[in-house]
């Protein structure tokens, strides 16, 4: 069976809209009847990725491919790219600007959380070109 595909444009201008895509994915997964645990992991991993795209990359594209056995989340942006992936994967390390931290974001938990809640995480990044996260969650 072909996977079910959901696509979203994540708007980088509007912080208040961040999280809409993950919320919509959650609704779809509930309609399909995935387990609450899977839904929660997808929602958290995708939310963190979505927020990252808003903070660092002025938005981007989110694509979710759903099959019976896996849920694959692809988050692609045309942002500045990640300079040092090892550093970025450390809990508490953040390059988010001051004003974003004042909003309670940018605590340096984004990528570590995505890794924690997913089964596989692939990061393709190139400085000045953009970043694509491929997050795999087994159901």
């Amino acid at each position: 069976m072909e996977p079910i595909v959901l696509t979203y444009q994540v708007d980088g201008e509007d912080f208040s809209a961040a999280g809409e895509a993950s919320s919509s994915v959650k609704k779809t997964l509930k309609q399909l009847g995935f387990s609450p645990d899977v839904i929660r992991r997808v929602a958290i991993a995708m939310y963190e990725g979505e927020i990252n795209m808003v903070i660092h990359a002025d938005g981007g594209e989110a694509r979710v491919e759903i099959t019976q056995s896996t849920i694959c989340i692809i988050l692609a942006d045309k942002g500045p790219g990640i300079k040092d992936i090892n550093l970025a994967m450390q809990e508490g390390y953040s390059t988010a600007p001051e004003e974003v931290r004042n909003l309670g974001f940018g605590a340096g938990m984004g990528l570590p959380n995505i890794k924690k809640y997913s089964d596989e995480l692939k990061i393709d990044t190139e400085l000045g070109v953009g970043t694509t996260l491929t997050i795999l969650i087994n159901t």
């Binding site: 309609q31 399909l32 009847g33 939310y47």
Partner: protein, 418 residues
Amino acid sequence: MEYFHSVTLDAKRCRGCITCVKRCPTEAIRVKNGKATIIKERCIDCGECIRVCPHRAKKAVFDKLSLLDEFEYNVSLPAPALYGQFNNLDNVDYILNGLLDIGFDDVFEVARAAELVSECTRKIMNEPNQPKPIISTACPAIVRLIRVRFPKLIPHLLGVKAPVEIAASIARIEAEKKTGLPTEKIGVFFISPCPAKVTAMHQPLGTDDTDVSGVLAISDVYKPLLAAMNKIQQPKPLSECGLTGISWGYTGGEATALLRTRYLAADGMENVIKILEEIEDDKLLDVDFVELGACVSGCVGGCLNIENPYIARTRVRQLRKYMPVSSNRMKDFDLPAEDYFWHKPIEYDPVMQLDQDLQKAMMKMQEIQRIEKELPGIDCSACGSPSCHAFAVDVVEGTAKFSDCLIVLKNRLKDIME
């Protein structure tokens, strides 16, 4: 399973507008053949459709005062919200005496039981290994919402019975003692601000039985009660509740009674759903207790009240200043401790799920996506479904026809004309 609901439709008044369809938090309403119909398994009895209907076609179901005739001895359980319905009232005793004058033999204030629930909750919160946050179970519409939409949050439910249930049990025990009558001859009636409590009595969650004999509407009792209150010269002192109890009438009352600061209190379906989503995604880690109410302002906002919720709330708050903090303790009542708690687990009712079988559900979803692509996406609801997406689901489920979409029909017509 049979579903009882406390909402009915006055078909003569319903014009098939889509106001209720759009506002229903569980997408439980469709307009079919020009009339609003409820998908029974989805309705959570929040009363939103009753509140928003511009033609007053949605009606709440409740019992009538005449039901008292079927019992030998009747006890009234006034909700805290009732106290906010009267102008220039500085003493709750006028209301309680008035209830005796319109046919009740005794009163037991639900606010008293609310203080007991607060005490019980404080004890639970002090126990180790509680899920965080604990979610209040006082509003039946919220419990029903969680049951159909937020399965992961079921373990967070407090599981203490709502104050009205505790009040009914205590009032019944006391009436049996006082009169020596068998329990079936004693009527115990809730004076309710909301229809969700009617459903909670007919179809309780977390328990099999109820000590409530009937649920009367504040709006229905109001006229005879006001007339009786106006005749009272010097009311007998009957009120035995503190400000903790009556504060339960509005949002924040239950949460502040826990004497902790790490709480959140929210009301109105839209806000409540957002908060539940936050908890579901582990985004709300800094609170221990969450109080949620379906109605704006809490119980004073229930659709069976007379007064505007904000006015009622202000009045209840003003009544508080003549009251002690709390006047009721669990040890003062004969109700066994285990009767404060639910004794039946709440089970997830996946009414939004497309199919029990994942593969079938996925095939349906693909079909839904295919149909949705052909729809205009303007969510006009002229088809009778709340959105284009919901309409696509209805088509796949066989409860709507693709040609019910007016825009699709118009475009087809245009093609033929050209």
